[in-house]
Symmetry: D4
Subunit: 210 residues, 8 copies
Amino acid sequence: MSNAPVYNRLNKDDAVVLLVDHQTGLISLVQDFSPNEFKNNVLALADCAKFFNLPTILTTSFEKGPNGPLVPELKEMFPDAPYIPRPGQINAWDNADFVQAIKATGRKQLIIAGVVTDVCVAFPTLSALAEGFDVFVVTDASGTFNETVQQAAWARMTAAGAQLMNWFAVACELHRDWRNDIEGLGNLLSQRLPNYRNLMNSYVALTNSH
Amino acid sequence: MSNAPVYNRLNKDDAVVLLVDHQTGLISLVQDFSPNEFKNNVLALADCAKFFNLPTILTTSFEKGPNGPLVPELKEMFPDAPYIPRPGQINAWDNADFVQAIKATGRKQLIIAGVVTDVCVAFPTLSALAEGFDVFVVTDASGTFNETVQQAAWARMTAAGAQLMNWFAVACELHRDWRNDIEGLGNLLSQRLPNYRNLMNSYVALTNSH
Amino acid sequence: MSNAPVYNRLNKDDAVVLLVDHQTGLISLVQDFSPNEFKNNVLALADCAKFFNLPTILTTSFEKGPNGPLVPELKEMFPDAPYIPRPGQINAWDNADFVQAIKATGRKQLIIAGVVTDVCVAFPTLSALAEGFDVFVVTDASGTFNETVQQAAWARMTAAGAQLMNWFAVACELHRDWRNDIEGLGNLLSQRLPNYRNLMNSYVALTNSH
Amino acid sequence: MSNAPVYNRLNKDDAVVLLVDHQTGLISLVQDFSPNEFKNNVLALADCAKFFNLPTILTTSFEKGPNGPLVPELKEMFPDAPYIPRPGQINAWDNADFVQAIKATGRKQLIIAGVVTDVCVAFPTLSALAEGFDVFVVTDASGTFNETVQQAAWARMTAAGAQLMNWFAVACELHRDWRNDIEGLGNLLSQRLPNYRNLMNSYVALTNSH
Amino acid sequence: MSNAPVYNRLNKDDAVVLLVDHQTGLISLVQDFSPNEFKNNVLALADCAKFFNLPTILTTSFEKGPNGPLVPELKEMFPDAPYIPRPGQINAWDNADFVQAIKATGRKQLIIAGVVTDVCVAFPTLSALAEGFDVFVVTDASGTFNETVQQAAWARMTAAGAQLMNWFAVACELHRDWRNDIEGLGNLLSQRLPNYRNLMNSYVALTNSH
Amino acid sequence: MSNAPVYNRLNKDDAVVLLVDHQTGLISLVQDFSPNEFKNNVLALADCAKFFNLPTILTTSFEKGPNGPLVPELKEMFPDAPYIPRPGQINAWDNADFVQAIKATGRKQLIIAGVVTDVCVAFPTLSALAEGFDVFVVTDASGTFNETVQQAAWARMTAAGAQLMNWFAVACELHRDWRNDIEGLGNLLSQRLPNYRNLMNSYVALTNSH
Amino acid sequence: MSNAPVYNRLNKDDAVVLLVDHQTGLISLVQDFSPNEFKNNVLALADCAKFFNLPTILTTSFEKGPNGPLVPELKEMFPDAPYIPRPGQINAWDNADFVQAIKATGRKQLIIAGVVTDVCVAFPTLSALAEGFDVFVVTDASGTFNETVQQAAWARMTAAGAQLMNWFAVACELHRDWRNDIEGLGNLLSQRLPNYRNLMNSYVALTNSH
Amino acid sequence: MSNAPVYNRLNKDDAVVLLVDHQTGLISLVQDFSPNEFKNNVLALADCAKFFNLPTILTTSFEKGPNGPLVPELKEMFPDAPYIPRPGQINAWDNADFVQAIKATGRKQLIIAGVVTDVCVAFPTLSALAEGFDVFVVTDASGTFNETVQQAAWARMTAAGAQLMNWFAVACELHRDWRNDIEGLGNLLSQRLPNYRNLMNSYVALTNSH
């Protein structure tokens, strides 16, 4: 049993969220998710960061140019978060301020998402893994040109030790037990999972009728 | 040229919106759209009804039972709309109150959407066409079990003379000219089309920077 | 309004069900539906025939040979139905007994399904339409080699005036009003639509808990 | 035989090309084609317009705003073409200058493509059909949000009498006979059909080697 | 009933098969079928032509150039068939020899397949329909660039009155009754439908074991 | 050869089945399988558990609320199985009763399935692997939101050492040799694999006819 | 460089081909390939075995029953090959004769294909790997119920060290250099790759014309 | 942290590009990408090689025969590159000149693409890895018969340690920082990513208007 793998489980006291280049221009390049799915997934991940009070770090690439500004929703949700507009580095890890902001949190679990998956997510993921961080890629809040590119990028990151997740699993792994805040998690899921919201509304309606 | 087809164009003074059975239980049957896409499309159509001040009629099937209540968002958006909880008729057109509500508007263009497409949309569509109404099916705000069923239902309705549309085309055909309300339509599209919102945000950011 | 299309609506007093060549060998040719989906759809249509007491006619092609026998479930469900093992005619309508069995019912609405769609369904459909019958093709209880063939067959039948339906729409159009037999239709749907069954079970559980 | 359909064949002396709203912003909404496929198809249609010397009319919607300017390639290819930046009309046919430009050509066959299919293509198509024009929709040079919307828009236009084509068929139907200009058509196809270019290059290489 | 559609049924005494441009180079453009599926379908249609002794007419476009020669299998199967290498006409119907060959058969039902669907099949189909012929397009023995082009071409031909079929339905509609030649049809299907071959081999093995 | 991998083969004396959160509400979230496929797969896995007399453990999450009760079929099949309604733990492994129930069996091979794959299956899988258990994930009896989430979850579990299987492979690996119970396994497959049932019925029919 | 992976390359003097359960009944279960693709791939692999004179071992499961006999083509191609009809073992490696036949060849590279992938291929693959053999799974000559099952089975085998290949790569890796037999390999590819055959026929036609 | 994976990052001073068998005939076999996508991706990779001044090595297989010549664009872009027409070796690594050309560069990072992925890319990749090179497979500039073959080839290469990339990620990883040449990289992306070009053109238009 000594060879059993360690379950490196997300821990809300050791995790930090990195949102990389979710910019209005760059998002128009994303075609492996429909626009509505992608928007919902990104905001759901942001909701998780807020709900679990995770330190969150925002970074952008050349937002004065064609890449466009960070999507306003993210800016509004994290007004006090470290915000690193990179002057040119493609790999955010090559930006000292970005790495410094991460290290300043003292946390070792990086939850990362961004646009595009194969570059803005994959490069810092590989860099961070090489420095010994644990990296959890939120696949459904990260978008790219098409599914072929997506799959190749996933394979490269997996081979280097990154863990592939989705925002819902991130939320659940951080929350651990519904009793920690039933209403809070319920609200979050209700906002971002229409079919879960439907279940809740059916339940409420029926309960109220009795 | 005497055989040229008539372009029966949506007219905000002659159109009425019918929302049929968008109930919390029934929506769990929909699998020809992802839950987020479908929710967004239904609410976008509702936005159109509000924006163009179209008379809107709501109906449900057995909402005290497993089918569940009307989704709360729709109820809130149309607090004063005719609301016909059908006691059993599957085809809403078999319900005299429903038909009466439509006829009371004096309008001839029916914009219809519902769950499921092959029944709750198709049946009243075929009935209305037979009574001489023009029917515009909002395909992306109507959902059903899978794409095979969707395609068969579309074919049946098309053969009977229904026009297949999507919510965005409904909005544009009703609006006719951006100058009728640039900001109003812009806001509607921005809420429901993430990539259009991105275009607008890029534009605003760049304009502000000059 | 004189040009309005007639809504030729399924009527349980004027409809007859034709099940063509659902044989154990032939079904292995079907690849436009997964085997489980197809089996469920065929049996659901059979359930409808029983539930609405529709006259039902079975026919097979060469069942002593590689095509194999009629699937036993259908044989058991309709022990007294006219059963026409065709000695060679590919188009069931070329078999006088088959046509005679239909005409003996005095009904004009033919609900047809079979294997394979492009031959065993399409041929009698086209023949029946030419003789003035109304034909309702149950697309999801009819299977064939692949989706390309399916789509071509649908187009051919649609162009000739057949109406494309699915078993659920057939059930609902025949039933008309839940109040005609709430429990009966509910049971039928519960057996054949797992997500509807789930809705019912959630409802029952919650109701019982109060 | 008197009921035989007329083959209304594209004729380079009677056809005019309408390019509607191929703008840098709007194209980011297109997801029913990959970006490369779509760009290639649009430019291929433009190549046809040039090659056959067809009168070509350009129009845009609000190009100073988020919709962005006409893609520069089209502007460069047709420097002298009528160019109608619409001040607000969504349906280009509602713009008198646009219709006037078409009528000024004296031509009756409209070859149309644009972004998005369900609005910028469908609306003028339906208007033009209603005025007795023949409309040929270039489906692969017209893009929209997703395939469901695409299919509904195709169905609506087909039902009204539009003919669905693709740029390659447009080129071939206009050209009629290779001998009219073998090298010219060959060059056009070679630029836009990589596999045809490969055939030509294999042929040339082998011929030269003998 | 006087409005009932006529079932214009394939008749082996009134049908002629047209194979248009199945050339080694052009086939490399086909991507709406896998190469093996397409080869099998084309040869299956050729098998039908032979089996039913249908007059068959071959034509090619520029076979000395990059388009390449007719696939040798077809040439070998129909050594005495009219063979019209067109000197330049893209629409085979524009070639007097081709039309003459058809008319010389005195037949009115044209079974057509070719490469590419949207041009080499669609153009002569539309021309023939306009001259009062009945045209049956063998969709699965006709190939083109992708499924979007395929669907547009099908829609155009359907709208003009062509009937969409597949080779298997052609075989069955011509054969009418297995008893006309059980072994002959069985052999044809066994060669071209692997799953039918499997059924036959299972049957034979089991029968022999008793 | 010392580096050869060990084939850790399912053994009916060392395996235990864990069914996690197959609840009527939660199942409405599953969209990576059609409802019929999923229901059939889950019941097929349950059939295996029964057939091989494997200890089986059931657990649910908040079944009094919107998640709904365990699907009744499972409850009926395993009336005496340990049944752990978790008071809040999302990861079933965090519930001491659940882990205790597993350890009480003394078995080391965990066959797990549940809803949703990325949470209710993945979390206990990772926990169990970390404690040295062998985990076999029944992929087709586990469902989630969409295929992207499914693929990410599979990758995460595979990287940690879980083995991905399907119910049919589970059945066959446990059974080892048909002779252990030919009729028993045959019946199980016949119930859950329609095409296998067809093979058996063809065989029986033909055998009986001799 | 001491950690560089070994390229364990197929060697025609060390490879043996295992064809497992390609039986007429079982093949009807395969739906992850179209029937034509699958038949072609299996025969192509058999062609390779013949062409490279590889020892080939055939085995079947219960061929007197519903599973049906080995497809006759394989039997004819390998009349003298070891042929092991297993009396009941599902994993062919559990049959001593099968393993003995492999070991008798003295070869260490096993090229395996069969029906169904997740059982008849995966089980002996895992067993053989555990005994130190090198296993090359011919993925496109192995079929199963659907793509989800296929992907899970691939993942399980890959994790255990099997190499995933396709028949074309097997042929090329064994052949190493075209000069070993240009005509021989060319013929094999021409029979099984229609587009390669087309290239060859275009080439021959053009060469002959000079 | 000593076990952290090394991020072996592409370095423009240590990378060499290998383009294997992008020949006019062989490319007609590619069906896992559309022809336009594939052409664009291959040329984009070539653009990267030029832009970063990477040594580039070209090789072909039998270009005098049906495989056809190297696509002319590549030949023109790299007139002075080592060009190795292999006399017969299928695995380019078996050709001493090819390996010598690589070793002469003194570089250790191989960026490879070719046709077909499972042979012309996979074989030299596996050979090079075995000799200690780092291999980066450009998945979207490498094509093969279909997606099943593609996925099996990717799995085999990944298991041996190759890194899967796409041309855009290659460009970005080599460039590292936009400031190294903003205009240069911008131009490259603008040529090969239509949606990025659109972003740039929207930006320029808006900037100019102020």
